[in-house]
Symmetry: C3
Subunit: 301 residues, 3 copies
């Protein structure tokens, strides 16, 4: 474990085609002693924001190594390919990918960018930079090649950043509320909000004192909150674990990434609310309006 | 290969999110020399029985190491997390997972449980015990930490067991028949029954003497066999290999796990019969009732 | 890296069941020092041609090792299982799989077959030769067992070959045109043709001189080109990279495998054209017939 040695690989390549396997083979050929750990390849095609969010969720749990991330709708075009070095010493030290905002959020979690190079473009544009440019650079870094030898130094401040998903202004709703985008819907249908517990506390005070809450879907991805379009509010309860919930009861908990999440026990909250990544969600007090009855067998008191 | 060294990892995490990758990263960080082999992560969410069946099918083919299995609807609740040691010396020696019946069937195939500990609960309930509790314990065992140091000893007899899927009593059907649940439908649409060849022999005598057979779907998952609801019986032939079958001809064979399976050649028997895991299937003699004609080009004689 | 050491594994096993994981475990048990790299397991069930095409796309990027490929509708039947040695010294030296045409195209890319053995059949037919026959042989080769010790020598010329997908005769269409099958639709909806740039140059001359082009779907998989059934021709532009395309504009480029591919920027060309693997595509000049208007915001001049 002298060098970084491990490549952590994330992409929107999916697992049906051979893209991921070929990148593994290329890295093995160039750095036979490196290990490749797949963080996940199920990012929706071209969804840079979803890839960045996945990487941010994962990055604090990684050991020493190199992150290789490829969600790259601009492949072959004028976007830069980059390799970054971060400040934190106890996790992955290098990040390789397109300069489209995919890497910088995770790099910020690791102390921020302390070095950056732009990678040379291939003489003929490729449609598969993971194989032809980014994978080989990750292999070189895993094999202890110095960052500076892999490209032209650039300023970290020049890197493309994604717009944050700010919490919406809930003032126009006419009652105290947290309004947040859905940042992630996982396989189980758990609905992770961009918001964190502090954001909820800003509206309602500390979690211990939370009264009955409601949840309401304000709009689809990309839409704007509107009072008219909103479906009925549903009762939701602040809990610590799935197991506290009755069948069919919506729960609001702090999930394993420190975000607020809307969940059901052994069922999909995303299907129940008909939301997906980017949907606008309102969490408000239950006392502000009457609520429809809860599911059978569930007493909301 | 002094210690177990290898972690065999099975879950219902799917391959779209980063759950599996993060557990790999955590194990690599804690046990850098361990290898992780993914047995499969496509278990239907929360289906403990399906996960247990997958593990039972796989376990006899594994070398030394640690099985990490996570299908865990009770995560964060009162269910125990456990690590088990089994008697057999020539395969995986340790099994780590929730105490919900996921592990015990496979452990029984490996000589039974000879040691068990309950793992300490995290101080704050987690929604991701694979990352925070179970993965780290699997890494510790792969790194040769003694089982007893990882938790509080418990009796193997206290472990939660799944109800077996007994063969249904076919007596009420009025003719000799084997009635079995579907235990697994694989990617190719092969329909594996819970029943094994011995169960068939109990009804019809040895396979060599099997006359023409029929297959009929008695009911959906969770339903009860009923004569009325049953669709027409279809002709099926006992074979040794897919290649013996004519196009469209249903075959009954002993599959690679030693179970009876209903198959088609290069097509999905599950789609043809409209069954899934848990469906009730009847296999009976063809002489008891007239049969509808077979598929075109297939002569059932 | 004395022996081959690495097994490159491709199949139609999918990633939902445990097939892939069990083969990994079997290889690890038999060859503890071997590494297994998954090239991909998402080949459509039983589609030997798709598996062969995937292997041909990947094979030039692999280092030393053994290719294990399993797309095997004839498993358990009379088809032979084989292990092949190829001439090229700088990539995988051995190929293991069924003798159904899956391997020979890729082997030809690696200098052709210079040695071949037929593997012994199991005494009882198996439905899972990847676990019981092919995986163990790949492990033996990865562990430096000599090819000749693993089966009975056979002539390379006796191996089953797939029929090529020849370019269709476009003469009956009444205008200069390239007619090609779709060889692959990838996750992003890029439509890879069997045809390569030389085939286009044979019809239209060098790419630099290409005038406006059109694309038209002549028929579904397995169908024959017909002028009547054809939908309207769509405008398409020869480009070097996705980034040159306007939103909604169809592009024709040389992809990362050296094939012609029909693409959209950040969208699925396969969905737009309603094609899949095997569909018949015509590429012709735009001057031969009037074209419908392009997408909004796209000026085809």
């Amino acid at each position: 474990m002298a060098g970084p040695g491990t490549v952590f690989f994330l992409s929107d390549y999916g697992v049906v085609d051979e893209f991921v396997g070929v990148v593994h083979a290329v890295i093995a050929r160039l750095a036979p002693d490196a290990r490749v750990i797949d963080l996940g390849h199920g990012v929706e095609p071209f969804d840079v924001g979803a890839g960045a969010a996945m990487l941010e969720r994962a990055v604090d749990h990684l050991g020493p190594g190199v992150v290789l991330a490829v969600v790259d709708p601009g492949v072959g075009g004028s976007r830069r390919a980059v390799a970054l070095e971060v400040a934190a010493a106890d996790g992955p030290r290098f990040f390789v990918g397109p300069d489209n905002g995919l890497l910088v959020g995770a790099a910020a979690r690791r102390g921020g960018v302390v070095g950056a190079v732009e990678l040379a473009r291939p003489s003929v544009p490729s449609t598969f930079d993971g194989r032809d440019v980014l994978g080989p650079v990750a292999a070189a870094l895993a094999g202890d090649r110095p960052l500076g030898s892999l490209g032209t130094a650039i300023e970290g401040s020049s890197l493309v950043r994604l717009a944050a998903s700010p919490l919406a202004d809930a003032g126009s709703l006419g009652h105290p509320a947290l309004v947040s985008e859905v940042g992630w819907v996982d396989r189980f249908g758990n609905v992770q909000l961009v918001a964190r517990p502090d954001d909820l506390a800003d509206v309602f005070g500390p979690a211990e004192g939370l009264g009955p809450l409601t949840v309401r879907v304000l709009g689809p991805p990309g839409g704007r909150p509107t009072e008219q379009a909103a479906p009925s509010a549903l009762s939701i309860r602040s809990v610590h674990a799935f197991a506290e919930l009755a069948p069919g009861e919506l729960g609001l908990l702090v999930d394993a990434n420190g975000h607020l999440a809307i969940v059901l026990q052994e069922a999909s909250a995303a299907a129940r609310l008909a939301v997906r990544r980017g949907s606008q969600i309102e969490v408000a007090g239950a006392t502000d309006r009457p609520l429809p009855p809860g599911p059978p067998g569930y007493d909301p008191r």
